[in-house]
Symmetry: C2
């Protein structure tokens, strides 16, 4: 599915391999295998033995948490070049979240121990990984802050801005979020119901802040959304 050049390109652009030389990337590439997934196909499930590090080579991946009563939490949506799975592998670890293909996906992956070897041999890589983990921890804590103190309107505004930042491309509709996301999915990212998400998006649309349709959203007035999140 991916030719050698694409694979090496993807791997070389990973933030934590940035300190490595081209020939080292080629060497590392040999440890990775690739695999395709269809939309909604499971990549791994929370609780599975955690032993692989994945990199998105093409498509979009969803990271989710589940509940007994079928309430899901959409933690993050990943795009080409993003990585997920088992970063710091330790014996007996299990995945703490589930990963699904959202669109058709091509993913590269490697055994945890192989990655551990890389970390052992390249302290600079380990430091970059730690920085990235720190960013992810801060992002998660920020979600805790919003869920604890902000109302749905503020949380949804924040989610849209974050998505635009990560997946947005300017179009004639405004900043279009380049991933098909429905109301239910926005709700799962915001900690609310699809109905409430729909109501608030309608309101945003009336206020000229966004334009939206079936499984797509574009931001027309980012400033107006930002002003909602202030305090």
């Amino acid at each position: 599915m991916c030719d050698l050049d694409l694979r090496v390109y993807i791997l070389g652009r990973l933030p934590f391999f940035e300190p490595l030389a081209a020939d080292e990337i080629h060497e590392i590439n040999r440890h990775f295998t690739e695999r395709g997934y269809s939309p909604d196909e499971v990549i791994y499930i929370e609780g599975d033995p955690a032993n692989r590090l994945y990199v998105v080579a093409d498509g979009n991946v969803k990271l989710m948490l589940h509940t007994k009563r079928g309430k899901d939490v959409l933690l993050d949506v990943l795009r080409i070049g993003d990585f997920f799975g088992s970063l710091a592998h330790s014996a007996g670890d299990v995945y703490a979240e589930s990963a699904y293909a959202h669109t058709p996906v091509c993913a590269l992956s490697t055994e945890g121990p192989a990655f551990r070897t890389i970390l052992n041999d390249h302290p600079a890589v380990a430091l970059r990984v730690m920085e990235i983990m720190a960013q992810r921890l801060n992002a998660a804590n920020e979600k805790v802050r919003l869920l604890s103190t902000a109302n749905v309107e503020q949380r949804l505004a924040h989610v849209l801005l974050t998505l635009a930042d990560k997946l947005g491309e300017s179009s004639d509709q405004g900043i279009l979020i380049q991933m098909p996301l429905g109301r239910a999915e926005l709700a799962e990212m915001t900690g609310t119901s699809p109905e409430t998400a729909s109501r608030i998006l309608s309101q945003f649309q009336n206020d000229g802040r966004v334009r939206t349709g079936r499984r797509w959203t574009a931001i027309t007035d980012p400033e107006a959304l930002i002003s909602l999140t202030q305090d």
Copy 2:
């Protein structure tokens, strides 16, 4: 405030220094300075330039997030041997949360760059740090799940069980949480108001699940609390 033996003991018990030999710990100890804090004294504030790694040598530390309108989130309470601050230091970083002394505190701390050097020289230490960061990320994501899908009763039960796990000691009252926490603080950990926290604690007390008083809580029936968190 701390004599040499205590310092070396504290440092040697840090999970990420576990792979190091005693003489290396002694060497590392020389990079740490100590400082005392009074209750409610600021150790650092969210947004300050982040350049120190701290270790609690005595007392309890609170990690918090704030809001413009004065709503606070209590992310975590730390005890002797816990560490906080700047783990993966990168240029221009600022602290993502605020740290306060809750009780009288003695803290050891070191410059970010010094710790970076240790990480560079000891890949095994770096791997342990990554494992710990992964645990913290998972804990934060679990909070997101609870805040997104669980009601206050379930969240409070979860908070109490987590506190008991970390700070609990069995006493004649049950498992006593060894840290003075008031209703307002439990509320800040749970994402609710002090009044609602109080109401639910009263209910727990009536049901024989906890015993509680002014700034203390003990769990008398952990199983009954666990059963609340199931789904």
